[in-house]
């Protein structure tokens, strides 16, 4: 079990890299850049050879769990399979070596891809236009909320300073609204995680800029009142924002645009299969109805008869939320996925994602606490272990799953469900895997009664055991420092 930091295998004089020195301009650096502008402190970076380095990061990687190594039913994160073809397409040098400041005459293929992808995303969501600039879901939320704010302001409607967010929402929703300069009005959900219509009515008014909603919601349930909700919000002069984190449930079945949403974001790294990369890069395109198009970030890809171009001349635009055009490499991957799946494949993906979740829910509902016993979509939420007096927690269940080789579900979210266990299998998993996971989940629920220590001590088969989180936060060690002993040696 490898346990060294790259700094700890460093030794002065080693190097994994050779920089060719040109035999021109032998001037000392000080004659090019005045000495007073140069770095004085030493540069503490590791000194290792390439074989050491490759072994180090290879062994580090082996301490990680990924979709390619096992089932990863992390609710709300859509850990579906990441097709290798996506990587190959993004790796074409025509994309990977393209400089963002090149003239558009030299980047027609990239622009066409972005234009086409926008159109596809519009069709999938029932929207009219897309920006591909946001780098992640939360970034998309922020962009969408800015668009909503800019829209109201453009109409002289300055008093709409609040956004309604249900208490079941993803944490990014209220945070994004805050960053976009809104105040947040939190409304209660029903027991099923649906919007409480009375609470909504009470909250609506001429200070409301809009409502943020995830549908299916964070309990995995489709909010059947969506048409009424849209009507109420629109009547009150507000806009509807669709958090696309759960889009994988509805591809080809229903569309946010048709439900009445004015602004949506997608997570390409969830629904459209781009790899999560250990936490990013993602991509969070934002789609809008036609009346909001003037507010999209600049530039916008436009098509003329014979070519594509980038339009910066958009007086109502919110401006830029990121350099250049977005996480382009991720866009190529998502585009590849859509071509590979086609209309039929996307629909099938949602069907199988929902079927897989429904199947697990059905098989586990007698073994765990059920919060809302109803039809689920692509994910569902259990309310922890049965038996009020159990010594074990949802956290223990999660940790015990590690011993059985599974990544745990999302836990303690949504907040409205006590001891929540949020399971999202995606369409990528086989029935055999689902059945095995179900068996293990049932086994763990039994262990909780018969052998609670097995849960409380779990995991024991992983590279490390449970960590001391409190110590980490109380006395933060956020970077490696050479120990005095090491210093002396060096």
């Amino acid at each position: 079990n490898y346990d060294q930091l790259i700094f700890e295998i460093s030794k002065p004089g080693r190097s994994a890299y050779r920089v060719a020195k040109a035999d021109v301009c032998d001037k000392p650096i000080e004659s090019i850049i005045p000495a007073g502008l140069l770095r004085e402190t030493s540069l503490e970076l590791p000194e290792v050879s390439e074989p050491q380095l490759v072994r180090h990061y290879t062994l580090l990687s082996q301490k990680n769990f990924g979709v390619d190594t096992g089932f990863y039913p992390l609710g709300s994160c859509t850990m579906k399979y990441n097709p290798k073809l996506n990587e190959d397409m993004a790796g074409f040098s025509g994309f990977a070596a393209l400089h963002p400041q090149q003239k558009t005459q030299q980047t027609q293929g990239a622009l066409e891809l972005m234009y086409d992808l926008s159109a596809m995303l519009s069709e999938i969501g029932g929207m009219d236009a897309f920006t591909l600039q946001p780098a992640a879901g939360a970034h998309g939320e922020l962009t969408g909320l800015m668009i909503m704010k800019a829209y109201h302001e453009s109409r002289g409607d300055q008093k709409r300073t609040k956004i309604i967010v249900p208490d079941s929402a993803h944490g990014t929703n209220p945070a994004s609204a805050n960053v976009a300069g809104f105040d947040i009005v939190e409304i209660k959900s029903t027991r099923m995680g649906e919007i409480d219509l009375e609470s909504l009515k009470a909250a609506l008014g001429d200070d409301i800029a809009g409502l943020m909603l995830t549908n299916p919601n964070t309990l995995g349930l489709f909010d059947r009142n969506i048409v009424e909700i849209a009507r109420l919000v629109h009547e009150a002069g507000g806009l509807l924002y669709y958090d696309g984190a759960n889009l994988n449930a509805i591809l080809g079945q229903t569309r946010p645009g048709d439900m009445g949403f004015d602004v949506v974001h997608y997570n390409l790294h969830k629904t459209f299969s781009t790899p999560h990369g250990g936490g990013g890069p993602g991509s969070g395109p934002v789609g809008v109805k036609a009346f909001l198009e003037p507010f999209l970030p600049t530039p916008v890809v436009i098509k003329s008869e014979s070519s594509y171009d980038l339009s910066y001349d958009r007086p109502l635009s919110i401006g830029k939320v990121k350099s250049f055009y977005g996480n382009f490499g991720i866009l190529v991957r998502a585009y590849t996925f859509i071509l590979s799946m086609g209309a039929e494949g996307l629909k099938r993906a949602s069907e199988m994602a929902v079927l897989n979740a429904s199947y697990i829910q059905e098989k586990l509902k007698d073994h765990y606490q059920v919060f809302a016993n109803t039809k689920c979509k692509h994910e569902f939420v259990l309310a922890g272990l049965k038996g009020e007096l159990t010594q074990c927690s949802t956290l223990d269940v999660a940790k015990r799953l590690l011993d059985y080789g599974y990544h745990p579900p999302t836990i303690y979210f949504p907040l409205i469900v006590p001891n929540a266990i949020m399971i999202e299998p995606t369409e990528s998993e086989s029935l055999e895997t689902l059945d095995d996971f179900i068996d293990i989940m049932i086994k763990i629920s039994e262990e909780a009664d018969t052998n609670p220590e097995a849960l409380k001590q779990a995991p024991t088969t992983t590279p490390i055991r449970r960590v001391d989180e409190i110590r980490a936060a109380r006395t933060p060690i956020l970077k490696w420092e050479p120990t005095p002993a090491t210093s002396e040696e060096a």
Binding site: R39, L85, F92, A135, G171, T254, K320, T336, T374
Partner: protein
Amino acid sequence: MFPYIPNTDEDVARMLEALGLDSVEALFSDVPEAVKLNRRLDLCAPLSETEVTKQIKALADQNVSTDSLVCFLGAGAYDHAVPSVIKHLIGRSEFNTAYTPYQPEISQGTLQAIFEYQTMIANLTGMDVANASMYDGASATAEAAMLAAANQKGDTVLIASTVHPETIAVVETYMRFKGIKVVQIGAKDGVMDRDALTAKLNADVVGVVVQQPNFYGIVEDYSGVAEAVHEAKALFIMNVDPIGAALLKTPGEYGADLAVGEGQPLGNGLNYGGPYLGFMASTKKQMRKLPGRIVGQTVDLDGKRAFTLTLQAREQHIRREKATSNICSNQALNALTATIFMSVTGREGLYQMAAETARRAYYGYEKLLATGHFKPAYAQPFFREFALEVNGGADVDSINAHLFENGILGGLNISDDNAQRILFCITEKRTVEEIDRLVEVLEAYPW
């Protein structure tokens, strides 16, 4: 069958039976009829790998990339060497098919790599701590300004006009919606006008943003700025180039409170603008105000060293609307790329890369001046980029078109009504032969 979906018809039948349903459609009976799509999405039919590859390769081939051009273009994205090991290591699927390391027991790979990244970024910038990455350099700068606005008294952010225009634009967007004013500090001979800074620094200012090297490639002297900014109770925010940081006086040495920057040059490909990564480092004092993920060292139950996400009380999933930022997914794989890059080059390699970049840029600069067709736009020291003014007023777009015809990607056109100017970029990847050829081809331009 779809290659990415394992369920067979028989599997589906068995699962439906377990659910007591008679069709897949029944799974969606809770979707109100009014909003059902009830038609096929108007997208292509499923394509085979061969078809997808042909179609997308055709698009890629329509671009003329730096793979087939000799690149002298920078201005926010840089053609430095990308060591070969990077692709092989970040391609390991234990890294790239994982998500945010919520479960430390099975995520020590990602967590330790981020811890190494944080250390390297802190050391590179001369700051105390760093976070786990931001979307890109521009949004990292905006987040730094947001941090200043949230914690310092006042409603104004000052930003030097010598900062990259894209960065200024992003800062302006973020500030606009948060109700913070953005005021630019003008420039004199290509560098921030100190008098203008002094004039604008007042109690309303929460932060001052500068860039090193600046948009024109100039290495500015920021001595004394931190003191002035701190006197105004504002934060000094430096956006720095990470390759330059190996060579140039660091944000830490200048007394900055926050160091941010675009991490692309640290081993990330050009990728038509993304994915890149923003980095952010700070003094210890600002540590608990940093946005985004942070990894800390701790121990496990057996007392073994372990790494975990920490200080999460700052983050959106705990604090919701009270969070210091809404960032959730960041650019983890790009941060891993940067980590591996800095491990490959190491202390000496990164310094050599920076120094060789400066030497080659200087070589090209002198050769270009020697043609007689250019004069320096500014008389200032530079690192990797330099702005030249075209003598006789030939059109930069036309010059660049001439270069392009000869397989050369020219510099950015930064002309204005007064003069035709071009911003050339020369990294350590450009050989002497390539630089000489640039000069030769320029000589052949019909001046």
